[in-house]
Assembly symmetry: C3
Homo-oligomer: 339 residues x 3
């Protein structure tokens, strides 16, 4: 399995961790994620070093995890601190711990070299817990490689075809696309000027006429995509910075590899207008859940076709792939650097 390991990935949404032991496979590793007695998150290899049972089938006792098979206990660093029936713990008895940080309502994990884990490099998703924004979030388990989902988000020309009845609207693919790259980031910008608003925005923003619409995608390696998507009344200067007559949604996505052909898909939507409108919140949550579910079906069908084609198959690229290709180049370099 091929993954960039030296990277922060989302292991779970904060609300998924209460008193439970959450077992989840990340970059091919079985991992148990939990909170200690103070609520701080911890992550250990989800496989007892004695007889392989997933620790997530055991229980938490104070700040320790007790294996559900023979009762070995592990502290938060993965060190075995107690073996029933004997006073001495074998010196090599331990499971692997993973660096973990809670931020932006996400539990972030670092599956690679722990010495390289620097929390200051966690990508910015502040919209998800910023009091000036209101956000909806959700999770999908995807039966496709994580890169396919990154590709999907970096080429929004698919919106017109996959999400025709939800996010989509005509005219997207005709708008010019600009791609910028620096270091481990790629930005892809598209402005669709003076067109009808798509269904979701029309409802949310009560637009009567045409709009100037923007899709500003920012990808941070390896799998983090922030999309500033919005529209304003046509001709009111949105492109030049005046968005007072428009609405913005941050459609943010972060993807965690599970296996070679599956991944975890975390998304949230955040807006900074009509914060108290719970009806609108519900409407946008449903719209996002429906639209992203359409992508999930696409990705699974893609993966099946890739698997059946075998390695010899090569596809073609189109202009809309400019951002995808830039990002893939960054990923290839990072993979080479790791191996």
């Amino acid at each position: 399995m091929i993954f960039i390991k030296n990277a922060w990935y989302v292991a779970a949404e904060s609300h998924e961790l209460t008193g439970n032991l959450l077992g989840r496979t990340i970059c091919g590793d079985p991992i148990v994620v939990f909170r200690d007695s103070n609520g701080a998150p911890a992550a250990l290899e989800d496989r007892c070093c004695h007889r392989h049972l997933p620790l997530s089938l055991g229980k938490r006792t104070g700040d320790k995890i007790q294996c559900g098979y023979h009762g070995l206990e592990f502290d938060k660093t993965g060190t075995c601190v107690s073996v029933p029936g004997q006073k001495r713990v074998p010196p090599n008895a331990s499971v692997r711990p993973y660096p973990i940080v809670e931020r932006y309502r996400y539990i972030w994990i670092w599956p690679g070299d722990p010495d390289k884990a620097d929390p200051s490099t966690i990508p910015d998703y502040h919209w998800n817990d910023d009091p000036n924004w209101i956000s909806n979030s959700g999770y999908f388990h995807v039966q496709g490689n994580h890169q396919l989902l990154v590709d999907n988000l970096l080429d929004l020309s698919h919106v017109q075809f996959v999400h025709a009845t939800t996010l989509g609207a005509d005219g997207v693919t005709d708008a010019p696309l600009h791609t910028y790259r620096d270091a481990d980031q790629v930005r892809i910008e598209r402005w669709i000027m003076d067109k009808k608003p798509p269904a979701m925005f029309a409802t949310a923003g009560n637009f009567l006429g045409n709009v100037d619409r923007w899709q500003l995608i920012s990808w941070t390696a390896p799998t983090h995509v922030v999309i500033d998507a919005g529209c304003a009344n046509a001709g009111t200067g949105a492109k030049d910075g005046n968005r007072n007559e428009g609405i913005t949604v941050y459609s943010n996505h972060t993807i965690t590899p599970e296996t070679n052909d599956s991944c975890h898909y975390f998304w949230h939507h955040a807006r900074n207008y009509r914060l108290d409108d719970t009806e609108l919140t519900k409407f946008l949550a449903n719209a996002a859940q429906t639209a992203f579910g359409e992508d999930v079906d696409i990705l699974a069908a893609q993966q099946r076709n890739i698997d059946s084609a075998g390695r010899h198959w090569e596809g073609i690229d189109i202009n809309a792939d400019a951002g995808v290709l830039q990002a893939r180049r960054v990923v290839t370099k990072m993979l080479e650097a790791e191996t």
Copy 2:
């Protein structure tokens, strides 16, 4: 996967294609089959040359297929004629087209070298749309290699055991068997003289006493089997050509490889008597559906046992396999010629 590719296979029954895009795997290839705006059938590789999505998840626009992911459009020859967001189509943008012909209420496809596809070699199944005959048809998805199903049909001694309560009757296996081979055809003939009629024929023909019964099998490589099965009052000269006191059913079968261990099974039954008797038609349709369903279960169990045995396993042959062995020899030669 090992298939004879230079051959006509049934991709679908005619009635399966209305306005839909039918995705079906044939000889290991994912293929989308559809009708153009004039109702003429067409078949393309079911995998967009851009990002692998099955084209069968897209939609038909006029005579073109539009991919459901990024909107690339392909004409009936598989040429990509439009890419959203750009004026120029990449010169190598295309998917593979397959020769296709509609005949005898079947859609025939040629998965091999298109230059060798000669519609005059489509095997004769005229009974299926001949106004002098009335026919029932059906489809089974079989979890076994196509050759196992051909074997099944070329050794009807199984009828006595697998179809004891439907098609079967005692005495079949004791009757002498004659096998004839020429080029890519094998004929297997069995006459069962002066015996009780099997249940289905007894009901259909109202026979009061014994019958002379025939099973005349004609196999055309690689997977096409026509069976002229009938019976007449015993001693009325059916064997010498007088079938006026009997009834005939053409029990026809054509099999399309899907993968190494699965296939598509198309069958029809045709008779040339009591054409207006809809009760009889219903009775025969049910009888066939039930009986062939018994074969489908057998084939899946066979395949599982073959898989678990591995390659080292070798079985024995019996006299009743004469036709099977002739046909397998033809298939081996054809496979060698292709590779």
Copy 3:
């Protein structure tokens, strides 16, 4: 697949064989088990030597099995004695027979070299049909390697964690453990003196105070485990041989490999007190079924984690594994001797 083949394994409980043909995979071999017209058990390869169909899909005719596909008949020795449509049976037409013995309400089979099959080496499970004992029995299909289940039974320290609410009680793992080995047997003994009785024993024995409790495990290679577990009023000399003020349950287990990652698990419980108490019988049967079901879940989770870890993974051992390690050494030697 790696199995000790020269060994007696339980193919079925006696009551499973009535007039049926029971198909079961044992040590990777598909096997059909049945009774002849006199009720004597027989076992044959479950794969017709002609076209691979499982013979268990056929039927018994007298003392023979008739294949359900083309009607070949096999006697109890596996010799094909009849082929429909021909007088002569091909000389190599046969399926493999397996040595088989019915004893202790079990059908025992020998998947290895038949010349080495000596019924006197069938392990002692007389409690299961001894009139002085009353027993409950049951079967589980386990999605884990048979050795994992043997390990489980040879380290009862798991009882305290896996079966906390059924068989378990505190204090088990603190009690000293003694391990004895001779030839292909390992005995593991633990006495837990002057403690509260576990739930199941408390109910069964109406103990008012503390008990002296014993777990005497006897393993016979490769997969047979007899456990004499009981308790008596504390201080009444149970350890010295006086068990008059106690109760005993033989908790017996015998495991049959199916594939590398699955096995058949046969267990029975036998007691020699309150033989007529049907309520108690029911209570103990339910308790055993529930408790062993907990093990089955553990084993499947273990196997999944072993599979995902790959071969490079190595665990640690603890003191409680003394018996497990002794037994594994015996198994390794036996496997080496066979190959």
